[in-house]
Subunit: 385 residues, 2 copies
């Protein structure tokens, strides 16, 4: 890819994201819905204008890290600790219910037990990216519901690590190493707790360092470098880099009053984030959804069943919230999107030869539908409340 | 390149750029000098920590476009028109003098006439990126000297188009198509004038459109998209995308009072720009500069002669300024850096088999020395004035 090609892709991505994002806002919807639909429109299955090259994908991934960093900056660790038990319950039900329902659907459609386990596992994923962005769009980040959704999504990523290592181990060796799975989860928890405790204690050093620097741009570059570094460290313990970036935001939130990183990060996030969501939308393959093609019927049947399981399972998760006055529907809707995490799960299943390309296609449908439905439902439940 | 690799590269680039940039500022130098030296340090010839992958290079190129966009936003078209004749004289002398001197050096070291023409042509380049950044660092963008340097650098890019097409035509066919060269230059001039005249007339539409949009981030995304689009359009008429981005900035400068794009672009530029300068520094091959290796002597002799020609030629260009009270040394120093334009010229020479890899190496030395020397000299002359 050379520079003119990249420029053209960015112009298409930004132009379509702006147009459909603006339209979504005017129709009272979340802007992220518009950006996802913009992706569907310019993606391979309609216009074919936005080829997901390596550079675009990487810029999008940086973008979603910056989004989580910004969300962390605007969050309050205390708010998460206060709803900790609810978040844990939501995460746990949000794993068990979709798994059981997905397993049931897969088994009913005569898949093998291993395949059914894998399909069920895939439905347990939660895309922290889409949830965080929608909450941000709706101005609901700081509500109790927002804290529960984000907290549960973080815990879900750790649970996802366990599930993935169990399922892949099962596929490879036929047995489960609970020790390995436990170690993986333990390291991830240790990393998160360690980063937040130590980071919180020494955050003011960061503030002083940035304050001492004279060279223009020291704040934004230092803050972003910190977010990228924690994201990178997260990948070393197998977490998604998003969790590390989110932790970096939570830590620097303590110096927000001192150096205001949040104000500077906004335009940068605004520029990177749409790339991620447009590419996510562009990955939707409308062709496989065409109900007029008979060859799509088995896939659509599986996809339909799994989609119902996926939606029902996560809406049930909302019931895990213990607080009297929270809207459990909002929480369930916020946990819906499988997004990039679902894609990673499905990709592992395909490369491990657990599932066929047809079953992979069905999971992609579940990912697409839940990801597009979540902003719609979330907006609807918030309005209805 | 996967995400963890990119994160690691960015951490190294930002960390080193921040450290050496800050050091440069503390030593009274321009920050860009520190970033270039940071690149030399982390680049292949010393630490080897920053591999210039496609994605990093593209992000750097976007960065330098955003830099020129920002410079354009902070510039005043009137200021350029006022010093237009001086800029033209500086650009013209800055082409003729280095060409003649370079030709002389090359001929004296018994290169063929075609090679001598090419080497001379390479010395005529001016890197608008390094000059603009240094002027920005020194707060001299809006001085008469700054306007003359930037104006001359833009004109030099158009002259460079002519020179390159003449030299390459000469190498391929043995004859010069002045018609082609004239057409190329004509289209480029037409594009620039057209963009600025039409853009200036309709800039307030852009302001109104952005003001009408409700979706967060509409200003930064629209402004950057405009810059990328004009940069892309520029490449269609063979200009560097930097010139298009600069023109976009000049155009939107007219709505700066209305929507303040400049304020929002700063953190974004701060984040992208260091990637470009660190990678530029990383391209310097210190190994070929080692005077203790006898095999380097012929290259070093050629490099030394050409470097003197390159510096002398551009310092002479400063004399082209007609204004009574401008500092001609500052202008000459600002025209010094060959930067990325010199690299493009040298690369064409190598792929057209006009010059050997040894001669290519010598030109790289000229590019490196002039690029690193310019911020130093510029600072020195500004201080002395």
């Amino acid at each position: 890819m050379d520079l003119p090609q990249l420029l053209l892709s960015l112009i298409v991505i930004y132009g379509s994201a702006r147009l459909l994002g603006e339209l979504a806002v005017r129709l009272g919807q979340s802007a992220v819905l518009g950006e996802l639909l913009a992706g569907v429109l310019v993606g391979g299955s309609v216009l074919g204008w936005a080829e997901p090259t390596e550079t675009l994908k990487l810029m999008g991934e940086i973008g979603v890290m910056l989004l989580l960093f910004e969300v962390g900056l605007e969050s309050d660790l205390q708010a998460f600790l206060k709803v900790g038990w609810s978040a844990a319950a939501v995460a746990l039900i949000g794993v068990i219910a979709p798994f059981a329902l997905g397993y049931g659907v897969a088994a009913a459609l005569s898949m093998t037990p291993l395949q059914a386990v894998f399909v069920g596992a895939t439905l347990t994923a939660t895309s922290i990216a889409v949830s965080a962005r929608t909450l941000n769009d709706l101005g609901r980040l700081k509500s109790s519901e927002g804290s529960i959704i984000l907290g549960a999504a973080v815990l879900d990523d750790i649970l996802g690590l366990v599930i993935l290592s169990v399922v892949v181990g099962l596929a490879r060796t036929g047995s489960v190493s609970w020790l390995d799975a436990g170690q993986t989860a333990g390291t991830a928890v240790l990393f998160l707790v360690g980063a937040i405790v130590l980071g919180g204690r020494y955050a003011h050093w960061f503030g002083s360092l940035v304050g001492w620097m004279q060279h223009r741009g020291s704040l934004i570059v230092s803050a972003v470098t910190f977010a990228l570094a924690l994201g990178y460290a997260g990948t070393l313990v197998h977490l998604t880099p998003l969790i590390g970036a989110f932790a970096a935001g939570l830590i620097l939130a303590r110096v927000e009053h001192q150096i205001h990183p949040g104000k500077h990060i906004k335009p940068v996030a605004d520029l990177f984030v749409p790339i991620f969501f447009v590419l996510t939308g562009a990955a939707v393959d409308l062709g496989s959804l065409n109900p007029f093609l008979e060859q799509n019927w088995p896939v659509l049947l599986l996809a339909g069943g799994l989609t119902v399981a996926a939606i029902l399972g996560k809406l049930l998760a909302g019931l895990g919230a213990r607080e009297a006055r929270v809207n459990r529907w909002v929480i369930g809707a916020g946990m819906l999107p499988r997004g990039e995490v679902g894609l990673i799960f499905a990709g592992v299943g395909l490369t491990s030869a657990i599932i066929s390309t047809a079953e992979y296609g069905a999971i992609l449908v579940v990912v697409a539908v839940t990801t597009l439905l979540s902003p719609l439902l979330l907006k609807w439940f918030v309005k209805a409340a």
